[in-house]
Each structure stands twice: as C-alpha cells, then as structure tokens.
Subunit: 226 residues, 2 copies
DNA sequence: ATAATTAATATTGTATACAATTTATATCAT
DNA sequence: ATGATATAAATTGTATACAATATTAATTAT
C-alpha cells in the first residue's frame, strides 16, 4: 500500500504517517500485538524511518502502540480489562461534558443534537449500521464540544479512538436500541439545563454501552480465537 | 554488572531528553511561550536533534509543548482557562479513583495513607512546604493506584504533571490547611468502603484546591506581569 | 546428531547531511 | 534616509549513514 499519499503534500509527513498508522490500527489492518518494524512502515508509506519514529512516539501516548525495551513498537493488544478501564474513564469524562453542556447549550445546538438522534433512528430502521454509529458519534462529540473545556475535549477524543478499535470488532454483534432512548433523555436534561441529571444519565448510558461491548467482545473471542 | 557507566546511559537517550525537557518545563527553567529550538535543546542535553524531536512529539501529547505550523515547538502558556479546564477533568478522574479505591483498599493501604496525612501535617508545622507537597502528592497518587485502572492511572499522571507547573508558581502563596481535614475525610470514606462518599469528597476537595490555585495565580499575575 | 560457538543478518537508536522555507541582514535605487 | 530587493543565516522537515545490540543462521567440537 505504498500509494497511500500522493495528493496532499501540504502538511507534514510525520503527521500524515501518524494519521495513517492510527487508522490502520483502529481499523485492524495492523493487528493487536503485531510488531511494528520501522523500515516496513516506512516502505508502507513510502517515507524514511524518521517520520515513522515520530509518529510512533505520539501513538505511544495514545496507548495505541506499546514499546518494549529494545525490541521496539507493537500494536497494543485488546482485552476486557483494558476496554473496561477505558470505559470507566470515558463515563466520568463524558458525564462531566454533559454537565457542562447543560450550562452552555443554545437553541441551535438543541436542534442539531435532535437531528442526530432522529437520523440515527432512521438509519437503524433502514439497516445502515455504519451511519447509525456515525450519527451517534456525532451526538457524543457535539456534547463534548459544548463543554467548552479544551482539556476534556482532547482527552475524550483520545479515549474515543481507543474505543473505536473495539467497536469495529463488535459492531457486527447486535445493537443496543435502548441507546436511542437514553440519548433522548440526555438531551432533554441538557436542554432543560439540569446539569446533575445530564451528568448522571450520560454516565449510566456509557456504562450500559460497556456491557454491550463486553458481551460482543466475548462472542468475538469465542468465535475467532478458540 | 560493570559500573563506571559514562553518563548513566542505560535507557534510551530520547527518553532521558524527554524527562529532562519535561522537568525543565515543569520547574519553569523553560518559560511559558518560550520557543524551543531543536539545536539549542540538543546542545543543552549534548545530543543530536533526533532524540529531541522524538521527545517533543511526546510532550506535545501531554500539552506541555505546542507546535505551530512551520515555526516549531513552544512551551505551552499558562492561563486561568487552561488550569480550570484541567482541574475539572482532574476532579472527576480522581473522584473515580477514590470510588474504585474504596472497593480495593486493604489494611496496609490504610496505614500507608494515614502515614502520609500525619507526615504532611508535621512537615507543615515545621514549615517545610516542599515536603508537605510531596506527601500530599503521594496521598493522591496512592489512591489513584488503588483504583487498579491502568487508563485512569496514566491519565491522572498526565494531568498531575501539567498541574505541577501551576503549583510551583503558586506554592509560595499560602497553603490551604483545610486540605488536611479533607484528606482525613476522604480516607475515612475509602476505608469505610463507601465509594459514593469517597468520590464526592474527592471531587469537592479538588474543586476547593482549584480555587486556591486560581487566587495564587492572580496574585502572581498582579505581582510579576503588570 | 546435539550443544556450543561463531558468523551473518536484522533492527533499533543516534548522528549527520541535505532540501525547503522562513527570518534576518545587507545592498541598492530613489 | 526610506523602501524595495537581493543575499545570507537560521530553522524545520526528511533522508541517509553509522554504531550498538539483538536475533538468526551456520559452523565446529564433542
């Protein structure tokens, strides 16, 4: 896949490499535990090792890549403990986001968020799961941005990337339709300017989501690993 | 194993450079908004630019360093909005840590945590503020580790480094003695295996701390900037 | 044939070299 | 002197070269 980047030569190469490796990991092109040899990656993206190494340093901080002493980089492996620990963090962070959003929401934000919920329901009816996930993601992202807390926005974005790895594996296994109703309730709390309810509902919502992911992950293990 | 290692070059150089730059930023040796020229840093640590660049990539992810398009790296500036946004995150993250700690605490952990509180009070009596800060930090760190949540541990460590920058500036301006009592209360809730109280008390404690930092930061601005 | 030792290879970690671009300085025309 | 233009220096971004170490293959001794 060496022809990955012919066009946009505007930005930095290490930035592009960073994004590309990240995507490859998230989408599973690079498998968990796979060793990441620098020369191979460099060839893959048709660059030298320098941008690759810098990209790997950034990915390490995002827990997508793990460095072992003098062996080098590996794709961080997936397991129940990791996803659980991440989700616990996500729960309180997005809970905070919902709380803050309730202080900042405006008419137009409300319409936007309503739209996402409506669309995700429609796409679900139509069986277009990919679009459902996208609209749901937008719903969450919008709320996080409404928090107007830069540190929070960065942290959640971080966490979201990690979670996406698991979601891609498990998305084929059923969908939690109750989630739509929970989104409704969260939005009403935010729009009703009730920060505490918004926080609590969001935390619960994400905890429910974790349960769904975990059962999906277990099925996955049963079907493919054993 | 043979000693007489020239420059204790056991670990990687980019790791050392990373730690060194980080420390320099936290301690204010490198000032906020100061431009970080790669050659200068390389000379500073007697290396080439390569390890410096890799270190900077990691620091960027920790928000200690900011990259501007083709200008390069700068030390991220300090301001009220940033510290507030970070503290809001810290509040919910350490709140979660306290909650989880209440599920995992053992006798020995309790004794350890009590010890830290006792020592910090003693050092305060003795006027040794540096040691007070150290023991307080250990108190918080221990609780976070008790959460047994790896993602949480990493995130909080992250956040703690950033906060340290502000604490160093403001530590000279008074100390919030009420904090000791709050630590007592938190520890009792954790040891009493009351996760919800532990979480709530920790969140409040950190919010109080923010107010103290902010007033310190304002004094600082008044005294030095204007 | 097996274990131990040695040679070859691969891979990471670091330094240097080069290209592109920006920034600062100097030169010149008016 | 002033402003414009050209020249030099500095700085980032990328590629390559080299050194140290770990891994693998080959060779030898038993």
């Amino acid at each position: 896949m060496g022809e990955a980047m012919k066009n946009d030569k505007k930005s930095n190469l290490y930035e592009q490499v960073y994004v590309s490796i990240k995507e490859a990991i998230v989408k599973g092109v690079l498998s968990p535990n796979e060793r990441l040899r620098e020369v191979r990656l460099a060839e893959m993206f048709d660059t030298s090792r320098t941008p690759v190494r810098e990209a790997l340093r950034k990915l390490e901080k995002e827990r997508l890549v793990t460095f072992e002493p003098s062996i080098g980089a590996k794709v961080t492996e997936l397991n129940d403990e990791t996803i659980t620990s991440i989700y616990e963090c996500r729960s309180v962070l997005e809970g905070l986001a919902a709380k803050k959003a309730a202080l900042h929401i405006r008419q137009e934000d409300y319409y936007q968020l309503s739209e996402y919920i409506i669309l995700s329901r429609q796409y679900f009816q139509a069986g277009n799961i990919e679009q459902v996930v996208e609209k749901n993601t937008l719903f969450h992202e919008t709320i996080v941005k409404l928090s107007r807390n830069p540190a929070l926005i960065q942290m959640v974005e971080h966490v979201r990337t990690e979670i996406l790895r698991y979601r891609i594996i498990t998305s084929s296994f059923g969908f939690r339709t109750r989630g739509f109703d929970e989104h409704d309730a969260i939005l009403e709390a935010i729009n009703g300017q009730d920060p505490d309810s918004a926080e609590e509902l969001m935390k619960k919502h994400i905890q429910e989501d974790l349960q769904n992911i975990l059962s999906g992950l277990n099925q996955y293990s049963v079907n493919f690993n054993c």
